[in-house]
Each structure stands twice: as C-alpha cells, then as structure tokens.
C-alpha cells in the first residue's frame, strides 16, 4: 500500500512561495506534522525547517518532502518577470497547438497536456522544474522501440558526460577515444535524422 501523495505534487495556488515562518527566504521544504492523528502542513525555508526539526519533541512528528514544484506556483521568478508585462500580452499567451494547454493552465495546475507541451513550454519548465536538478540529461532507461535518433542522442549525452569527467581528471588519451566515438555517433545521428 502507498502513503497518500504529498500535496506538493499539486501546485498549492493559495500557498506562498515564501517561508511561512520568516517570510524572507523561498519555501523549499514542506513540513508535515502528525500530532495525535491530526495532520498539518507548513512550507518553510531550509533554515527554519532545521530549527523546527530540532525543537520537535515527544509525539510530534515532523516529516519533510521537497517542494519540487514550488517553482511552478505563481510567485516563481519567471512569473515575476512576466507580471511586469502589460495585461494586453495575455492575448498572445503561449499555448500548445496539440492539446490546447496554455502557460496559465500549466502554472495553475502544474500539469502539461501532452508530449508537445515539453517543447512549447521548454523555457518555463527548464527554469522551474529543472532548476535544482544536477545533471540535465536523462540517464535512465530508453524505450526499445523509440526512434534510433533517441537512443543515439542518449548515448551521446552519456559519452559527453564521460568526456567531461575524463578531461577533468586529465586522462586525455582515453578522452580522445571518447571524442572520436562521439564524432562517429554524431555522423550516424545526422544520417538517422536525414
């Protein structure tokens, strides 16, 4: 069985993106307290969350999950820039031609409507969802039946990461081999896409 999903997977429209204790730092932690069966949620910055955690005693339980989607809420930095734009700009709001999802929809629900949304709203998603992720490329499994170009790109990203590692450790001879392999895959990718 599964614990109830954290409300953080859904964007809390009413919630503030600022810490609910100090009101100064961005709220990057979500603290969930269960005291005698009663559940309460608080959004705090890392510093305040640490303070609350240290003060917690007895049966009070403090749990924390990251506010990964906090950046999608209305107060994200990207939105502040957009808020400065005149209201008439809304008429030309960015939208996905495949599913009809608008940037406002995305900000309100935290959901995209289709695969094409990832291209249409790439800037917004990169600035919000991906801002804290370390590597920006996918390192996991790839579809077996996907286009050859997908697996080639995936392999190239893996090799590029390896190349950076090798160069940083001054293992230039091995790096040269990886660079050649990258060039070869680059040519194949060009062919596959053509």
């Amino acid at each position: 069985m599964f614990a109830e999903e954290s409300p953080d997977w859904n964007v809390d429209l009413g919630g503030s993106a600022d810490c609910e204790l100090c009101g100064e730092e961005p709220a990057t932690m979500h603290l969930l307290r269960v005291v005698h069966g009663a559940v309460s949620h608080t959004h705090l910055c890392a510093h305040c969350a640490e303070g609350v955690a240290e003060q917690t005693e007895g049966l009070a339980l403090v749990l924390a999950v990251p506010s990964v989607l906090r950046g999608l809420s209305k107060k994200s930095s990207g939105d502040q820039e957009e808020a400065a734009e005149p209201a008439s700009a809304n008429r030309e709001e960015k939208f996905c031609g495949v599913c009809g999802t608008t940037l406002s929809d995305l900000k309100e629900s935290g959901m995209v409507g289709c695969a094409n949304c990832y291209r249409v709203f790439a800037d917004h998603l990169e600035a919000t969802v991906r801002r804290e992720a370390e590597p920006i490329e996918h390192l996991g499994k790839v579809p077996i039946r996907g286009p050859e170009s997908d697996s080639l790109r995936h392999e190239m990203m893996r090799l590029e990461r390896m190349l950076r590692e090798l160069v940083s450790h001054e293992r230039f001879e091995e790096a040269a081999g990886v660079r050649d392999r990258l060039a070869e895959l680059g040519q194949r990718l060009g062919g596959a896409e053509a």
Binding site: F2, A3, E5, L61, L63, P66
Partner: protein
Amino acid sequence: MSKNALTASAVSLSRNEAGKRFSHTEDAEALQELRAEVVGALTTDHWERPWRVYDLDAMSLVEVNHLVERGLMTPAFSEEAGEARGFAVYGNNQASLEINGVEHFHLIGFREGDQLESLWSLLSVLDDRLEAVASYAFDPRWGYLTAYPGKAGTGLRAYATLHVPALMLTGKLAATALELVGRGLGIAPLWGGAGGVVQISNVARQTGPESDIVAEVENMSRAITEKERSVRKMLMREHPVQARDQIGRALGAAQHAWVMTFHEAVNLISAGQVGMEQGLVEAPGLAAESAFSLMSRLQPAHIVLEHMEVKTDCLDSPEIDEIRARVMREVFAGAIVR
C-alpha cells in the same frame, strides 16, 4: 539490523503513449481505444504469467479498497473518476497496471520485505513487454514524459515502508527527514503515522540510472533502520520501566478490548513487535506472522472481505471494529511480558 524494520517494498513506473495527449486533456473515445488496445495485449500469451483484468465500474467500494490495501492500486487512482480507466493484476499479485489514471500507464509492484531490486527487475521486464503495444512518450533530455513535469525522467518511484516507532516517539525522525530531503527523497506516514510506520521514496529524484535510485532508497532505509535500533536500545537502557509499562499496557488492550479502530490496532501491534524484538514479550501468535502482515489484514476492506458473511459496502461499520478486536484477542492470546 532488525530484519523486520524494512517491512515492505514497492516500485512504480509511469509511462504515456506517444501519439496521444495525456489523460486529462485527451478525448474519452481516444482513451477508451487505448485501454482496449492494451487490455487486448494483456490477455494474449505474450506474458510469462497471465494478467487478470478488472471491470472497475462493476466493483464495489470495498473491493476497490481491498486492492488499495494490498498495495495493488494507488489511493489516488482509486479516487479518480473517468470511464476510460482500466486496471489489471499480473500473475499471483506480483504487479499491477493502472490504465488512464494521471498517466496512461502506471505499473506497480508491491511486496513484503526488502524486495526493491527484484521488483525493479520485474517491472523493467513488464515495461519492455508493454512497449510491444505502446509507443512511449520520450525525450532524450527529459526522459519519459509525464503529465506532472516534476516526475519526468525515469518515471520510477521506489518506496520502502519502515517500522520506526522509536524514532517517531523521540522526535528523531525530523532530522532524518531533513537528511532525506537533501538527497531528493521524501518521507510520509503510511497510516496517519500509526505504529511508527512510514514510507520513504524518491519524491524529487528522477535523474540517474534506475538502479542508482533504487540503491539510494535501499541504502537510506538501512541507515534509518540502524538509527531505529540504536534509539530503541537507548530507550530500553534509560527508560526501562516506562518502556515495559507501555508495552505491557499495549498487550493488555490487545488481549481484552472488544472494539478496536485500525489505528489503535496498528499502535498495539507495533508496541508488541518492539517488545518481542527487545526480548520483553513472548507472543506466539504475533511471532507466527510478520507485524506488517497482521496490520495489513486488519484494514477495513480486508476485514469485510475475509471475515464478514454479509459483505457490507460501508467501511465505517461498527462491526468491523468488533471483528478487528476479536482477531487481536486471538493473535495475542497467551502473550506475556517477561
């Protein structure tokens, strides 16, 4: 390490069909078509074990909750509406598939004990086979695409269910939670925190090979289990009378109560289990099965389907609490505090 502290494992994979919009924006007709196509594929002999396809519309509230209580269905999917949803269970409950929930496909594997790696292996195989009929929405940079962009990447979620009452009682779980957050993991109470049963999972971490994510959840589970063990020792050393008192009271209630809520039962079993592991309690009935298994079968839908002759469709029926108390009396009969 106490082998009972990691009580259950679960892995899930989220996938979407490339040629279709995600469930919340797609037409009902297109989703029904997708469901029919996938259900058709599940009922072929393409699989090592057969799939059992469920008709969700024909199921009662109790039957649906029974699936949730067994870890075969997520609570979120059970509460969603939509006529195009589909559901199927693989083999002897080894895995299950939610169709047209938030994502088009949500593969789930749930088992008692430390089974994360084997669950990931199984789900990866089922994922590959499912791809014979589906064409997954994928981007080389983002990975598998999902309706919530924060979940895009591997689409994998690994869950470890832990029994950590001493950490919870002493408030030391807070520091652990902060440490987890730093690693992109999260912790949540399983049954409202009853019995100190919590679930950790990779809430934010979607990058990296799947095996690394699974290993991270496993490693953190083991570290938390170690902490739990040392805090239990500390409690027994520094507060021996209070510890015996709490455990003794729990046994008394378990042996003599005639009405019992699920949360109370989980708390009492948790105390009995700690007492047994610390050598304070002899409870042959509890020793015969895992505490987690006993907790699981005392959930409301389990009681209705396994103990009641006339199956009520009300999960708040007072009779459920009476039956639960009876089962507890039977399990704890003859239990003693040394």
